[in-house]
């Protein structure tokens, strides 16, 4: 599982905060690569031509996609969250897809930082704290009425309150866990299948080619599936964040 190991690149010596070394890791490097890639993608498409070219059309369809998702889920109040949800969606999408790139052919080992709970957990905490801040800012202590749906019979209120509270508090974990496990499971699956291919080649002429060829075909199919999963997980993360924002904004 070498692909998941985080190793420091530089900055290990001299940099010490509260007794901990803060090096620049390969995880941080790939976060920067994803951010720079996103920046190039955006700058290339923000020329604001009257008749959009191909690139501008790609950027516009992405922003339009996030825009309509927020309009459908939150309503007219959702307009102000477009920058946050859009950055979140595109950053996760770029990170997931960059991690699947066959760059190892050129000697560069891609690192999927979304396959670490420390990275996705921070993204989830960020979304969750925005929900809390917006909810308490806008509705003050009325925000707690989120935990007691309309028309709950009186004897049921304590039970429903506890259930809703737990399901609310579990949200950041489920949000971060989903992305991290989905990405890690996909990469582990590809690694196991490539291990089958190599073992099959080593096994010699008898059963070897059968195992290798079958695993290799399966691997190609799983690669296509992983590209789909990379996009779907980014979409689900953005969609669930917008749903939680809807709760904070409109108090169901």
């Amino acid at each position: 599982m070498h692909q998941f190991s985080i190793h420091p690149m530089f900055g290990t010596d001299g940099w010490e905060v509260a007794g901990y070394h803060i090096p620049f890791t390969n995880s941080a490097l790939w976060m920067i690569i994803a951010a720079v890639g996103l920046l190039i993608f955006m700058i290339g498409g923000m020329k604001r031509e009257l008749v959009p070219g191909r690139w501008q059309m790609a950027v516009e369809s992405m922003t339009g996609f996030v825009d309509s998702m927020l309009a459908a889920n939150i309503g007219p109040n959702g307009k102000k969250y477009v920058p946050y949800i859009f950055s979140l969606f595109m950053f996760i999408l770029f990170a997931n897809v960059l991690g699947l790139m066959p760059l190892a052919l050129f000697g560069l080992h891609p690192f999927t930082f979304t396959s670490h709970f420390s990275a996705t957990g921070v993204l989830a905490i960020m979304s969750f704290s925005i929900v809390l801040i917006v909810g308490f800012w806008k509705h003050k202590l009325h925000f707690f009425s989120l935990f007691v749906p309309h028309g709950t019979p009186l004897p049921m209120i304590p039970l429903i309150f506890v259930i809703e509270l737990v399901s609310f508090l579990v949200r950041p974990f489920s949000l971060g866990l989903r992305l991290f496990v989905a990405m890690m499971a996909g990469h582990v699956l590809l690694e196991v299948l490539s291990g089958f291919v190599i073992s099959g080649v080593n096994a010699g002429l008898g059963i070897g080619p059968v195992v290798s060829v079958l695993s290799f075909i399966l691997m190609i199919a799983i690669c296509a599936l992983e590209i789909l999963v990379a996009a779907i997980q980014a979409y689900v993360f953005a969609l669930l964040t917008s749903l939680y924002l809807n709760d904070a904004e409109n108090l169901h």
Partner: protein
């Protein structure tokens, strides 16, 4: 049974959860497709709900994967 063996058996049993989640995800998309073919006009508007259902079903399968990983590497 040795503790190590019990952990591995437990991790294997957790794979049942992943299979069950596969049934759930298939159910979500299957039902969506079935009703989308009956009323194609309303299908596009329900795509958000489709993915919410997908995410909820998938999370439980991913949790069983986490249980397996914890049993093998952590516990």
């Amino acid at each position: 049974m040795e503790a190590e063996a019990a952990k591995l058996v437990g991790a294997g049993l957790a794979a049942i959860g992943a299979g069950m989640a596969a049934i759930g995800v298939g159910n979500v998309f299957g039902s969506f497709l079935e009703s989308a073919l009956r009323n194609p006009g309303a299908a596009d508007g329900q795509q958000g709900r489709l993915f919410i259902g997908f995410a909820a079903a998938e999370l439980l399968g991913l949790l069983s994967f986490v249980v397996a990983m914890i049993l093998i590497f952590v516990a």
